[in-house]
């Protein structure tokens, strides 16, 4: 069913340009006009809430604006990015530390979430009693506001009063309490663990949607062919699930690249876990250097844009209808 609709889609799309060129008549023009009428409000809102702040941030990054004086800022060109006298963002080791931290966090947390989310999705896709209840239950960590869950984990991970240290000491895994969120080696892992706990359900849900769209008859064909279930997973399920997985990963990767709240609540401005967003906030708010902070924000925007384009190109992710063929 899905494949046959894809066939008609591709036929339709291949014949569309000729058709529109051949019959550029009044009806077509009025259709285009009404399409624009429906699009304009959305485009206006997008320009207002996304386009304007973005452009303003890029503009501010070229100025020496401070938090108390954004209006009389002077244009200073690319000095916030790089200059010979005091460096700029690109020569700040703290910035590159935060870039590395962000990329590391993204790589590790998204990988773990993908593996766990896939396993969870496969489990939730099986028919068993209470499946609906479980599907709803796994969403609880995702439903809790990040600040709340981060604070909750902050207490649980507390070095003196935290329940985690208490449990590990009772069982005997550790003899002395560990300062999970303060130690430079454990802090990042603590953050990754909390993020995995929180967003695996989201990943699982996206992959589950993909699983439910897989053609069930293929599995019966594989059964008749006598293909081992493990092989079926690698040779049938995974390739067919690829578009759904790619989309889920892209969502999570974008979220992970601009991670802020979880890290800020758990570890504040600690350098061992500082991400690009935390760095930018520190510059903007704590140091009140709006120009410099905007430069960091613009760099963050560029890095995310480059990574996204690279990911889509390399992975050949089709975000349109063709992806679900």
């Amino acid at each position: 069913m899905a494949s046959s609709s894809a066939l008609t889609d591709s036929r339709a799309s291949s014949s569309a340009p000729t058709r529109s060129r051949a019959s550029s008549n009044a009806l077509t023009r009025s259709r285009v006009r009404s399409a624009w009428m429906f699009m304009i409000p959305m485009l206006a809102v997008l320009a207002l809430v996304a386009g304007w702040p973005l452009l303003r941030t890029i503009w501010l990054s070229f100025t020496d604006a401070t938090l108390d004086a954004t209006s009389n800022a002077q244009f200073i060109g690319l000095a916030n990015y790089y200059n010979a006298t005091w460096g700029g963002v690109l020569s700040d080791p703290m910035w590159w530390n935060s870039v590395w931290n962000t990329l590391w966090f993204m790589g590790v947390s998204v990988s773990l979430e993908l593996v766990l989310g896939l396993a969870l999705a496969l489990l939730l896709n099986q028919a068993f009693r209470g499946r609906g209840l479980l599907r709803a239950a796994v969403l609880v960590p995702w439903a809790i506001p990040t600040v709340v869950s981060a604070q909750m984990w902050g207490w649980m991970l507390h070095d003196q009063f935290g329940v985690i240290n208490d449990m590990l000491m009772t069982v005997g895994f550790i003899s002395d309490p560990i300062a999970w969120t303060a130690g430079s080696t454990t802090a990042m892992w603590a953050v990754v663990m909390v993020d995995v706990w929180k967003t695996t359900p989201f990943m699982a849900l996206l992959i589950l949607t993909g699983l439910q769209m897989l053609p069930s008859d293929c599995y019966e064909a594989a059964k008749v062919d006598g293909v081992h279930p493990f092989k079926v997973f690698w040779k049938v399920t995974l390739p067919l699930l690829k578009p759904a997985i790619m989309v889920a990963v892209i969502f999570r990767a974008l979220d992970a690249l601009r991670i802020f709240d979880l890290i800020y609540v758990l570890t504040s401005n600690a350098s061992s876990t500082m991400t690009m967003s935390v760095y930018a906030r520190q510059q903007l708010v704590d140091f009140q250097d709006v120009g410099y902070g905007s430069a960091a924000s613009t760099m963050l925007f560029l890095i995310i844009a480059v990574l996204t384009v690279a990911y889509i190109t390399l992975g050949k992710v089709k975000l349109g209808s063709e992806g679900q063929s």
Binding site: S3, D217, A221, A222, K223, V224, G226, L240
Partner: protein
């Protein structure tokens, strides 16, 4: 050699029994068609043979081996699905090779089998294409090809033509018939289309509500239906059923009191309860026009459908029953004309109160 034997096969889903004790023997090389209306259990029965559903009761043998507890792959069957069930991400070649490759078959053997199947099904130019680049008919052929390369003992087809358009359906039907004769593999084919059943089958199995109504060669079912259901299901347009009463006038003759007051005398066997006949069945093609005064069936033409080579006249009897009669093309039947109809004696069927056919002397 692979014959298929079903003994008292039952299948329940929860408390609902959908297959209610089927006994059936299929000989090696036979082409058997399961036919029946939707929900009659024909697809379920096929899936039971395939092993995609567990048998609730009864026994099944394929080639002398009891297969009740064998998984599909060990039963020596292959199956063509209604929706083709091709792997969307694999080429035609990979689709056909997949099962064999994972069964660790020698690559040369796989290639030979695929080339052979591709030649038979004219798939050679399509081997490197993906399913989405194929038309419905081509996908269907790939699905058949994938089933052939496994060299099965029993070939199962689940409504393989139902997703094709009318012209392609006729063409593919012929191809399947040719292919089956050539390979001489025991085949079971499920359809709801009685035309497919009649044209393809060596043996037709009519199912209704999970019960085997009748099983036999197509023409046996056409000429000698075992009951009113089979009589109505086989043949198009449907057989006419007229409510009648009957009196036995001597040992071998039954007088039927027809709607409209005339009578029809039919030869019957003795001791078969012919006197209790309640329904007279006659196919549209087995009626001929006659004088309205004396003919056993009379009425007025209400609707005429013209097909060119033939015409169907819908005749309304005085008591409001409808009788369809097939006339020659150009017969010029007119709405409102009063007509009389005479049934062909040896093609007239009688059904008792239990809807079973009352046997009539053959070859009179």
């Amino acid at each position: 050699m692979a014959n298929l034997e079903l003994k008292g096969i039952r299948k329940s889903f929860g408390t609902v029994e959908v297959v209610k004790g089927i006994d059936l023997t299929i000989e090696h090389g036979e082409f058997v068609v399961f036919v029946g209306p939707s929900g009659c259990g024909k697809s379920t029965l096929l899936r039971l043979i395939a092993g995609l559903e567990d048998i609730t009761g009864g026994d099944m043998w394929i080639g002398g081996e009891r297969v009740n507890d064998l998984p599909p792959a060990k039963r020596g069957i292959s199956m063509v699905f209604q929706s083709y069930a091709l792997y969307p991400h694999m080429t035609v070649y990979q689709n056909m090779a997949f099962g064999l490759k994972l069964a660790k078959t020698d690559p040369r053997t796989i290639d030979d089998a695929i080339q052979e199947a591709a030649r038979m099904l004219q798939l050679e130019p399509l081997l490197e294409r993906l399913p989405k680049q194929l038309s419905g008919g081509q996908r269907q052929r790939v699905a058949i090809g994938r089933a052939i390369v496994r060299n099965p003992k029993v070939f199962l087809l689940d409504e393989p033509l139902s997703n094709l358009d009318a012209a392609l359906r006729v063409q593919t039907r012929l191809e399947i018939a040719r292919l089956q004769k050539r390979m001489n593999t025991t085949s079971v084919y499920v359809t709801h289309d009685q035309v497919e059943a009649m044209t393809l089958a060596d043996k037709v199995v009519v199912l209704h509500d999970g019960v085997l109504e009748q099983c036999g060669p197509p023409l046996e079912l056409y000429h000698h239906p075992a009951n009113k259901f089979v009589a109505g299901f086989i043949g198009s347009p449907q057989m006419n059923f007229l409510k009648i009463t009957a009196d036995r006038i001597d040992g071998r003759t039954l007088r039927c009191n027809m709607p409209g007051g005339n009578t029809l005398d039919l030869a019957v066997e003795q001791g078969v309860g012919a006197r209790f006949a309640e329904t007279l069945g006659i196919r549209p093609e087995h009626l001929r026009l006659a004088d309205p005064e004396t003919a056993p069936i009379k009425g007025e033409i209400a609707v005429v459908e013209r097909f060119g080579e033939s015409e169907l006249a819908y005749v309304r009897t005085p008591d409001g029953q409808s009788v369809v009669v097939r006339l020659q093309g150009g017969a010029g039947a007119r709405i409102g004309t009063k007509v009389g109809l005479v049934p062909l004696d040896e093609e007239t069927h009688l059904f008792g109160p239990d809807e079973k056919a009352i046997p009539r002397p053959r070859g009179v």
